[in-house]
């Protein structure tokens, strides 16, 4: 995976200036940005060296720098939860974390979970994803919850997902999927013992 990431990063870096010029905004004159932050991080278990402009967030690095577009760009204010990723195991809003803050740390994105992961599997099987936009953030918030609390109550799940908005499902199936996945993880760990 690492050579692929590097190839993508290099390819993307060439395009970054053009993209930035387009998004430089209203009254700002086009400015050229140097890729001044050197980032050495672990993404989904793979070591990744890349660069980013000073003002990029983790979300910009993932989506635009590394083409890991599973992490969604929703409200940009930390409210909707669509960009939730795990930073050193804890859920964070990728849209609120400056890229430099993540240097030297470990990120897990939705791309880091396999299709046989109990959460991914139950979300698909139980219809907990409809349009799917909130799903990566939901799954990573749920994963952080289950890592800390392997047998959560309905209330625990609702509290852990309070910051992940879904406009399709009405949440009932999402809560069911997390509770079902918790039992799958518990079975898997019981079998492996």
């Amino acid at each position: 995976m690492w050579p692929i990431l590097r190839a993508i990063a290099t390819h993307r870096a060439c395009r970054v200036r053009a993209v930035l010029l387009r998004s430089a905004g209203d009254d700002a004159a086009p400015i050229e940005f140097a890729m001044t932050i050197a980032l050495d991080l672990t993404i989904n278990g793979q070591r990744c060296r890349t660069q980013a402009p000073d003002h990029w967030t983790v979300l910009d690095v993932l989506r635009d720098g590394l083409a890991l577009t599973g992490t969604k760009d929703g409200c940009g204010e930390g409210v909707c939860g669509a960009c939730t990723v795990l930073l050193d195991g804890l859920p964070v809003r990728a849209c609120l974390v400056l890229a430099a803050y993540a240097a030297g740390r470990s990120l897990i994105t939705i791309e880091g979970l396999s299709e046989s992961d109990p959460l991914v599997d139950t979300f698909a099987r139980l219809g907990a994803a409809q349009c799917g936009f909130c799903t990566p953030g939901m799954i990573l918030s749920a994963r952080a919850l289950l890592a800390e609390n392997p047998a959560p109550s309905v209330h625990d799940v609702r509290e852990a997902l309070a910051g992940n908005l879904c406009r399709c499902t009405g949440y009932v199936k999402i809560v069911e999927a997390v509770l079902t996945a918790a039992r799958s993880y518990a079975c898997a760990s019981a079998l492996s013992n």
Binding site: L20, S23, A24, G25, A28, I31, F33, T36, I37, P53, D54, H55, W56, T57, D60, G76, E77, G78, G81, T84, L87, L90, P91, V92, R93, C95, L96, V97, L98, A100, Y101, S141, A144, L145, R158, E159, A160, A162, G163
Partner: protein, 292 residues
């Protein structure tokens, strides 16, 4: 949508942070966890040319107790404070307030220093820090100083910080033996929202007489800053914490509140809710075993 471009400065000591801020002539903003600053940058509420990040300053995230005093580095996150065994043992009121901030994903990066410097009137930790009589340590280019939290928070999103100063740490004295504390907040819309009203209280009840030796009550979102409800405290001090005293204190706290009206609720509604939540919190503390 990307942030407007800025130059990021990552100093490796508090002195260098102060120097960087002093050198930028007011065109710089400090970032700790980013949960407050990044949305403001995104919305263009602030448009700094430079952003000074604290994340490389060593030991700024430390949480430690020394001679009965708790010291939280400015970069200590809400999640770390909530989970810290030291905080839970000695200052459970603070652990509870830190654990009720927004959502898990915000708590992972939101810091105590950032929370104070942002001076959100509806902050969850601020009323707890007022009850616990915390001191804010400030570092700057011109040297360091300390202020009680009540004097640090000066107004609606306003603090006593000078442009070239940052919050370095928060110090909290030992909680009186046998004190019982709690933080409650009322979120009429959803759990992760900022509260319409937050109430923190710390009461010490004399086992022999059943009277309140010490009572501290603080309100969040009830005034431009977190405030102590001094008249409500005076009503229950040296009294048995019974229903009559609690009701009188709750009404006094409502009268002391100076709330703003916003989309969540009017001034009058907030006042009524102050009375309701002060009453509920004091009632639950009156029936709880003594524990700080």
């Amino acid at each position: 949508m990307r942030l407007r471009p800025f130059e990021l400065i990552e100093p490796e000591s508090l002195a260098a942070v102060g120097a960087a801020l002093a050198a930028t002539d007011g065109d710089a903003r400090v970032v700790a966890g980013g949960t407050a600053l990044v949305p403001m940058l995104r919305l263009g509420v602030v448009r700094p040319g430079r952003v000074v990040s604290l994340h490389r300053v060593p030991a700024l995230a430390e949480i430690a107790a020394n001679n009965g005093e708790l010291r939280l580095g400015a970069m200590a996150t809400m999640a770390a404070i909530h989970r810290s065994a030291v905080v839970r043992d000695g200052w459970p009121l603070l652990a509870e307030a830190a654990g009720s901030v927004a959502t898990p994903a915000i708590r992972s990066t939101a810091t105590i220093g950032g929370n104070l410097a942002y001076a959100e009137p509806a902050s969850d930790p601020a009323p707890a820090l007022c009850c616990l009589e915390a001191t804010v340590d400030i570092a700057g280019a011109a040297g360091s100083r300390s202020l009680p939290v009540a004097r640090f928070l000066t107004g609606f999103y306003e603090t006593a910080l000078e442009p070239a100063e940052v919050v370095a740490a928060v110090r909290i004295p030992a909680v009186p033996a046998g004190a019982r504390g709690g933080y409650v907040k009322f979120c009429p819309r959803s759990l992760e929202d900022k509260p319409l009203i937050g109430v923190a209280a710390l009461v010490t009840i004399d086992d022999r007489t059943g009277r309140c030796r010490d009572a501290r009550i603080a309100l969040g979102a009830a005034a431009p800053t977190a405030i102590r409800a001094a008249r409500a405290e005076a009503i229950v001090r040296d009294q048995a914490l019974d229903e009559r005293a609690i009701r009188a204190a709750a009404e006094a706290a409502a009268a002391e509140a100076d709330p703003l009206a916003d989309l969540m609720g009017s001034r009058d509604y907030r006042r009524r809710m102050v009375a309701v939540w002060v009453r509920r919190l004091l009632t639950s503390l009156a029936h709880r075993e003594g524990r700080p």
